[in-house]
């Protein structure tokens, strides 16, 4: 079964009384709610919020923005007394196929919209914000994947497994319980990683920051066989003597288990015990 829906100019024109920036709403059912469900969000511009709720359908609310135009094409000013209600620079496309609901930008790759999507709690969620703003995922039980270019990724009150990356934003994750045997990974180039894990978690952790600190209140047993510090001795050539410790650290929590990787370039890593 495949359903296709466009929230675009046509839908908006049907409600000419709508105030500017009023959210538009669409509801899509899964083909078979008793089987594993998945939500895939792929957007260019705008923020994305995915929230688990006590229902069986996917509810998508979108607030259009003026959108980003290709270079050289200026944004048209609304004529006096009028306001923008849509056009090819805003709009969202929603499809459902084999129990996967996909939400993406409509016809224009330059479209921008802020999305709030409600899904059944037991849903796997994958969000890719190609330019992005903030990405928020909450109240979900399932496999969670988030990728964001320019904003913070916030994942709260979730269970299952998490993989999150942001290029320029902070990663915040608060995980209630973790599916045994699942590997997880958190990474950001220019932000902090702040992750809260259940106190009883068993894991092998790998931590790496190039310019930052690593803090935790867990009792992490660091690997003794980690790389020995590197010694550079250039004194004979009139240079300096330098000892460098590896920027990467690894260890185990509660005896070890599946791998959890934390990688940041310009930021600190904080691992809290729940």
């Amino acid at each position: 079964m495949k359903k296709l829906m466009m929230l675009s100019a046509a839908a908006l024109l049907a409600a000419p009384a709508a105030l500017p920036q009023d959210p538009q709403k669409a509801t899509v059912a899964f083909s078979d709610p008793s089987r594993p469900k998945k939500l895939v969000v792929d957007t260019m511009f705008g923020s994305v919020t995915v929230r688990g709720y006590n229902g069986q359908e996917v509810i998508v609310e979108t607030t259009g923005r003026a959108g980003i135009r290709p270079r050289g094409r200026k944004e048209a000013e609304p004529p006096a007394g009028m306001h923008r209600i849509g056009g090819s620079y805003s709009g969202v496309e929603i499809t459902e196929e084999s129990n996967t609901v996909k939400v993406s930008n409509g016809p224009s790759p330059f479209a921008a919209a802020d999305l709030v999507i409600q899904v059944p709690v037991q849903t796997s969620v994958s969000v890719n914000a190609r330019v992005g703003d903030s990405v928020t995922i909450e109240n979900i039980t399932g496999e969670i994947e988030a990728n964001n270019m320019n904003g913070q990724v916030t994942i709260t009150n979730v269970s299952g497994s998490v993989m999150a990356h942001s290029m320029n934003g902070k990663i915040v994750a608060n995980i209630n319980s973790v599916t045994p045997d699942k590997a997880m990974s958190f990474s950001t180039m220019n932000g902090e990683i702040d992750v809260t894990l259940p106190a009883s978690i068993k894991a092998n952790v790998k931590l790496k920051t190039d310019h930052g600190d690593i803090f935790t209140d867990f009792d992490i047993k660091l690997d003794s066989k980690a790389a020995p510090p590197q010694v550079e001795d250039n004194r004979k050539r009139g240079g300096r003597y330098r000892i460098q410790f590896d920027r990467g650290t690894s260890g185990t929590i509660n005896g070890g288990g599946p791998e959890i990787q934390f990688t940041t370039f310009n930021g600190s890593i904080l691992i809290h015990k729940k």
Binding site: E145, M184, Q261
Partner: protein
């Protein structure tokens, strides 16, 4: 009916009075219908491609290996006493093997066969997980790859493919990290150098640069110089490339 309309009909359901009338009056279209007819007939004669028996075999092999992998992952969590007993047994086997090996000069066939079986099981688990649709399963596949033999070319190839093509940044990062243990091979150094310009995610670029520094690979200088000079590349990455060049000198 015009010839053009008739041609459109030929592509679909060629029927109807108009079509028949047109055909009887137009020789060009009659020839065309005959030609299309022959084409369909000859297409029908082509043998249908059947999947080879290997596909089924390989699938069940993978399934078995996957189950075995899961079972061994479960049993790893099992009792300490079991581990202790196993360790004692291994010690005894080790002593025995050592004794026999001292005599014959090489380990008995059973032991090396067992070792091969374990290695090929790990390989199958790693490879099958790395092909999954779910990114978290692929990440698990990469952690299995850490346990593969450093000489395992298939796992190595899958890791290089993951570094270059996996859609998930975190899987790519983990794959770069897993390549560290294949450092001994010059091929892998080459692959890491080649992966550098193709990679667009800054954090993965930094991980690749760090790996080249760990490899102490002087052949990487050219690629690093290019990266450091490329203004389209992220500033942090360019600084890291510059730092790497100094380290490798």
């Amino acid at each position: 009916m015009t010839c053009e309309e008739a041609r459109i009909q030929m592509l679909g359901e060629a029927e109807g009075k108009d079509f028949a009338a047109h055909l009887s009056s137009c020789e060009a279209c009659r020839n065309e219908v005959a030609r299309i007819g022959t084409l369909w007939q000859s297409l029908d004669l082509l043998p249908v491609e059947e999947p080879s028996g290997k596909v089924r075999e390989r699938f069940y092999e993978m399934l078995a290996a996957y189950r075995q992998g899961l079972a061994s992952a479960e049993s790893r969590k099992a009792y300490r006493w079991g581990q202790l007993a196993a360790a004692a047994a291994m010690l005894a086997v080790g002593l025995g093997v050592g004794y026999v090996a001292r005599g014959s000069g090489q380990p008995p066939a059973e032991v090396s066969q067992l070792r091969e079986e374990v290695a090929s099981m790990r390989q199958l688990v790693a490879l099958s997980l790395m092909q999954q649709q779910s990114a978290s399963e692929r990440l698990r596949g990469v952690s299995w790859a850490y346990q593969a033999e450093p000489s395992d070319r298939e796992v190595l190839g899958a890791l290089v493919t993951a570094v270059n093509q996996d859609t998930n940044v975190n899987v790519r990062l983990a794959a770069v990290d897993a390549l560290r243990r294949f450092a001994a091979s010059p091929e892998i150094r080459r692959a890491v150098v080649d992966a550098l310009p193709a990679q667009t995610t800054p954090l993965v670029q930094v991980a690749l640069i760090d790996l080249l520094v760990d490899f102490k690979d002087r052949n990487a200088a050219e690629a690093l110089t290019k990266l450091a000079a490329n203004r389209d590349v992220n500033d942090g990455v360019r600084q890291q490339a510059q730092w790497a060049l100094e380290k490798l000198q």
